[in-house]
């Protein structure tokens, strides 16, 4: 049984140490909920798990094989849902989704896309261009991505933002099904998502200095700061 684990992880963003000495372990069927105040590194940890960020220290392993030794294999088994919805305004919802399904290696991208939209309760938006979708619909479309192509590990960064209550309930069911099938989930959230038996990881436990609320920074905000540094 594959296990996704990280040990002694340290993350540096800019010149700020976000967390240090962090360990986690996700086995098939497990869900890991990342909790903590803004700026405690929930998004950074998810990006680290996805391989978008490199840890300053520590390592990630899948089934005891270090992730950097098999980056392609790692990319093939994860789905990452970030803050940005990656919806193209001139493509219809189904076209947007089918494109990602193709890149994710789905055999029947168009069919998968339509089924995923159906599952998220928005089959009627299939032919609607991205620019006419509401924030909630875009979010559902982005979440539908995880269903349109199979992957073992879902990394979800605040997946419930902009979702209504019904959609959250629907998504809880989807996560439960994924876990029942041996899938793994790591999710950061401020809203309660019902996930029976989920393990909690409090990121503020790993913050190196007492958290300073005066410098409350969220991950996307940090990205902006970096962009300015680059100029």
């Amino acid at each position: 049984m594959p296990v996704f684990a990280g040990s002694e992880l340290t993350c540096l963003r800019g010149d700020r140490l976000v967390f240090t000495g962090l360990d986690f372990r996700i086995a098939p069927g497990d869900a890991l909920v990342l909790l903590g105040p803004n700026g405690s590194g929930k998004s950074s940890l998810l990006r680290l798990m996805a391989g978008l960020l490199k840890p300053l220290r520590g390592h990630l392993s899948w089934d005891d094989v270090p992730v950097p030794e098999d980056p392609d294999g790692h990319r093939a088994r994860i789905h990452y849902v970030g803050h940005l919805d990656a919806v193209k305004p001139v493509l219809s919802a189904a076209e947007n989704l089918a494109f990602w399904a193709t890149l994710g290696g789905a055999a029947d991208p168009r069919g998968n896309a339509l089924r995923a939209l159906e599952r998220l309760g928005v089959p009627h938006i299939a032919t609607v261009p991205g620019r006419y979708l509401s924030a909630g619909q875009k979010r559902r479309l982005n979440l539908a991505r995880v269903l349109a192509a199979p992957a073992a590990l879902w990394l979800l960064d605040e997946p419930t933002v902009a979702l209504d209550r019904a959609a959250i309930a629907l998504f809880e069911e989807i996560i439960a099904e994924h876990r029942a099938g041996g899938g793994m989930v790591a999710v950061s959230t401020h809203v309660d998502i019902a996930m029976p038996g989920a393990r909690e990881l409090h990121l503020d436990d790993f913050t190196p200095v007492p958290h300073d609320h005066g410098e409350d920074e969220d991950a996307p905000h940090e990205d902006d700061m970096e962009g300015e540094d680059a100029v």
């Binding site: 990319r75 001139v90 193709t102 994710g104």
Partner: protein
């Protein structure tokens, strides 16, 4: 390979539905060349003499115009992040997007060029070689430009920075592109110029996507 083509297909579809990039580049190209007879006077011999250089400089500037947005939209809406998380190598992503960019902005320039050559009184034996040099040269422009576009991603006033970074690198392409046409018009063989252009293309084809991919990995981090 299917995924590579799907990415090219998606970018083409985006460009065609948005519609502006291709027409803007070619309109700019035409206007830029049309300005010269007003500036230097309608003397046919002078125009014929400078035609090759003018068309090539205008093509450089026109291809530069849309480069800024090569990765910008994908970067801003999160698509680039997701593309870097697929099993398609980043180099292939760059190559696919560059190919789509060339098909949308480079090919219309090649088609429009003979028309502008007539306007500038270039003699007819130069037309074939003009189209040939542009066919080899414009892909180089897109490839080298992709490095600049990737490096300036996320920077403020990236477009200006991009021009400053990329225009000096365009100089060899300009020299050999315009040189081949001049050689043909003066009864010399354009072969050495064309071979050198081909050599630059052969070098840029693997190196530019490699460099751009490295810059993009930095950008999504």
């Amino acid at each position: 390979m299917t995924r590579f083509l799907r990415l090219v297909g998606r970018d083409l579809r985006l460009a065609l539905r948005q519609g502006s990039d291709a027409t803007i580049a070619v309109m700019f190209f035409v206007l830029c060349v049309v300005l010269f007879p007003f500036g230097v006077g309608p003397e046919p011999n002078i125009l014929a003499r400078i035609a090759a250089g003018v068309i090539w400089v205008a093509a450089l500037l026109a291809s530069l115009l849309s480069l800024e947005r090569l990765f910008q939209n994908d970067y801003e809406d999160g698509s680039l992040e997701l593309l870097s998380l697929t099993t398609l190598p980043m180099e292939a992503v760059v190559l696919a997007k560059t190919l789509a960019h060339w098909l949308v902005t480079g090919v219309p320039l090649i088609v429009a060029a003979p028309l502008l050559a007539v306007l500038l009184n270039m003699s007819a034996e130069g037309f074939g070689i003009l189209v040939l040099t542009l066919s080899v040269g414009t892909p180089i422009l897109s490839l080298i430009g992709s490095i600049g576009a990737a490096l300036t991603l996320g920077a403020r006033r990236g477009g200006v920075l991009l021009s400053l970074l990329i225009l000096p690198l365009y100089i060899p392409v300009l020299i050999f592109g315009a040189g081949a046409i001049d050689a043909a018009l003066n009864g010399l063989t354009p072969r050495p110029h064309l071979l050198l252009l081909g050599g630059i293309l052969a070098g840029a084809l693997p190196l530019a996507p490699w460099a751009s991919a490295a810059a993009l990995r930095q950008a999504v981090e």
